[in-house]
């Protein structure tokens, strides 16, 4: 089935075979491999994207259901420069193996769009759907706290 959607501001299209996920379509058809596939059941958040402005797990969206929608992936967050969240995570050492990082970046950017000055508790709650298997949460949160304090 032909799926037409806007990804990171660009009109894109792909042909799906059946019920594959938006994550699969992004990675394998549109070659946007920033969003990662890990648990494939919405537990880990490494495939977090914005779908029509809402933070969702791309693995739980059927690609055909994104037809006509607007998707923002980690690739679309920054411009020529890094997104402030990306820079904050680098500065704080909030990246270890890096597999969860795109999901954390998208989720944290979505939080800061909605709430520019979240408390530490609000950060924890907003990132509850993102799992870091290196358990690097402390540095991730410190990076975001530093970013928020510096604003």
């Amino acid at each position: 089935m032909r799926v037409q959607l806007t990804v990171n501001g660009e009109a894109r299209a792909c042909d799906t075979k059946g019920s594959e996920s938006l994550l699969f379509a992004l990675r394998d058809y549109l070659h946007l491999t920033g969003s990662k596939g890990a648990c494939e059941q919405g537990e880990c958040g490494s495939c977090s994207v914005l779908l029509d402005g809402e933070l969702v797990c791309a693995c739980l969206v059927m690609a055909v259901d994104a037809h006509g929608s607007e998707v923002v992936t980690v690739e679309g967050l920054g411009g020529p420069e890094l997104h402030p969240v990306q820079k904050a995570l680098i500065d704080a050492g909030g990246v270890q193996c890096g597999f969860c990082t795109p999901g954390f970046v998208v989720a944290a950017a979505a939080l800061l769009d909605e709430n520019p000055a979240p408390s530490s508790d609000e950060m924890r709650e907003a990132l509850a759907g993102n799992i870091c298997r290196c358990t690097g949460y402390g540095a991730i949160l410190r990076g975001l706290e530093t970013l928020v304090e510096g604003r």
Binding site: M1, G18, E40, G45, L55, V56, V61, M62, D65, A107
Partner: protein
């Protein structure tokens, strides 16, 4: 695979009449897990995410397409509390109350709220609309009275809403968990009390003897609260699984119900 994106309710139920074997896709948070693990391969999908006709919320009617993110705040305290405990922000942005009802998992977090309120599930088909009370609707583990040609369009709440309502659940951590026990307690100023529990039986359970006992108490003291907890524990029928033992669930049911009743009484 064929996909139908109905633009309105008529088109949605028309599609279900034409394809009674169709798979309904709302938020996808349950369905896509099965799809990703190749447990189901749908032939026909009716996609409901953008069906406007099931998106409205009012005090007594909650559209089936309303996401838990939208329910995190609103008129009903217990509904907001349970919405906030579901999954993660990503799951709440996608998952809908209609999906929770339709999936009918014993651990469905909205189910104790609907059971406590004696809510009705509104079903729509080409032959009309019917409302089925929760206890006739939920018939077993992931089994409901919905016919294949019907669409869940709303949860309808009664006119007589409680003065106090509280929800809580027990899980192994505070996010991304499937309930080990969940409970909803309602209390009216005249003393009437209701308690419903989830994850402790194939369908939500009302602890009616506990309700009757404590509804007679205008100002329940420690002994009455203890008796309330004991009766709740007796009335549930939990199983042992990888998330918890039946014995733990039985004990936790009473503790949780008593705690929620105490919150109702002190608010």
């Amino acid at each position: 695979m064929e996909v139908i994106h109905p633009v309105d309710l008529d088109e949605a139920v028309g599609a279900l009449a034409a394809y009674p074997e169709a798979t309904l896709l709302a938020g996808g948070t349950d369905l896509m897990v099965e799809v990703n693990f190749d447990l189901i391969r749908p032939d026909v999908v009716v996609a409901l995410r953008r069906l406007d006709d099931i998106q409205d919320v009012s005090r007594r009617r909650i559209g089936a397409g309303v996401t838990f993110r939208r329910l995190e705040s609103g008129d009903h305290n217990a509904l907001a509390q349970l919405a906030r405990t579901i999954g993660s922000p990503q799951i709440r942005a996608a998952g809908t109350i209609g999906g929770n009802i339709g999936t009918a998992s014993p651990a469905g977090d909205s189910l104790p709220f609907l059971a406590a309120l004696d809510a009705e599930i509104e079903l729509h088909s080409t032959s009309g609309t019917r409302r089925v009370r929760w206890d006739d609707f939920f018939t077993g583990v992931k089994r409901t009275a919905r016919r294949p040609d019907e669409l869940i369009t709303a949860a309808v709440l009664p006119e007589d809403l409680p003065d106090f309502q509280e929800f809580a659940k027990i899980g192994q951590r505070s996010a991304m968990v499937i309930s080990i026990v969940s409970a909803c307690v309602l209390r009216w100023r005249d003393g009437r009390t209701r308690v419903a529990l989830g994850s402790v039986g194939p369908t939500p359970i009302r602890a009616r003897r506990a309700e009757a006992m404590v509804s007679d108490e205008t100002d329940p003291g420690p002994a009455a609260l203890e008796e309330f907890a004991r009766l709740v524990s007796q009335e549930v029928s939990p199983i042992t699984d990888h998330r918890g033992t039946g014995e733990y669930r039985r004990h936790a049911s009473g503790v949780l119900a008593r705690r929620l009743l105490e919150r109702c009484l002190s608010s």
